[in-house]
Amino acid sequence: MTEFTPWSALLGGVLIGLAAVGMMALEGRIAGISGIASRLLPPWPDAAWKGRLGFVLGLVAAPLAAWLATGDAPAQSVPGNLPLMALAGLLVGFGAVLGHGCTSGHGVCGLARFSPRSLAAVLTFMITGFLTVALMRHGLGS
């Protein structure tokens, strides 16, 4: 069980949206994290690598900033099945690059632009996400 937290969810969503709008206003780009992170990987080079590296380091530094601001480390519960998590990571990374975007690029920026491609991608990954959890939690003999 996790608690339903509509207000912090909404506030966090607005912060994510402000970052996406800031990226467009300043750099003229979509704030798609799989695109930003994957272009830091080979094949190189990429002229915009300094900006991409800055963005990724900003993401990585976020828990530190949250801890400095509140005095508490953000709470989370990460599944502990390590081979399963590695498989999940492989699928997420491979699928996001193959499908030209993830929850941020398609889910936030694409839907905000009313992109039909992004809508198709979001519906697809929501459906396979729902089915995967249904199978893992309720399907396999339980």
Partner: protein, 133 residues
């Protein structure tokens, strides 16, 4: 300059992920668990993010160009193709297995959970692999 600007944007994005609960796989997996302990919080994250972005883009894209770049670089592809759908389908399976997508996984690195440390290198390897296709 681009480094610091992007560092700030990444930090803001990451704080949004942490505040919203999107960086907690337990909340993501419970959002995806319609038949179980469903937690609808993530729908509110998406609503807040998409509405803010849609409104902000309307204002920003009226301008002739971004403040720190020559021109806006918007995706131009329109067609829904097999590659897009296959990629999204695989992404969704991974998302449903681990409860992480790329942003939350990166924003969780510093929290040091073993599951995160297993997920992240595999995610980067998957990205590098797909870039070679």
């Amino acid at each position: 300059m681009p480094f610091l600007v992007n560092l700030g944007l990444g930090l803001l994005f990451g704080l949004g992920l942490l505040v919203s609960g999107m960086a907690d796989p337990a909340k993501v997996l419970n959002f995806l668990d319609l038949g179980g302990a469903w937690d609808p919080s993530l729908a509110f994250v998406m609503a807040g993010a998409v509405l803010t972005t849609a409104l902000g883009y309307r204002l920003v894209l009226r301008r002739p160009r971004p403040l720190l770049a020559e021109a806006f670089q918007l995706p131009t592809r329109r067609a829904v193709d097999g590659r897009l759908l296959l990629g999204a389908a695989l992404f969704g399976i991974g998302w449903g297995l681990g409860g992480f997508c790329p942003g939350p996984a990166l924003a969780s690195l510093g929290l040091g959970a073993p599951g995160t440390l297993a997920f992240l290198p595999a995610m980067l390897a998957g990205m590098a692999l797909a870039r070679r296709l």
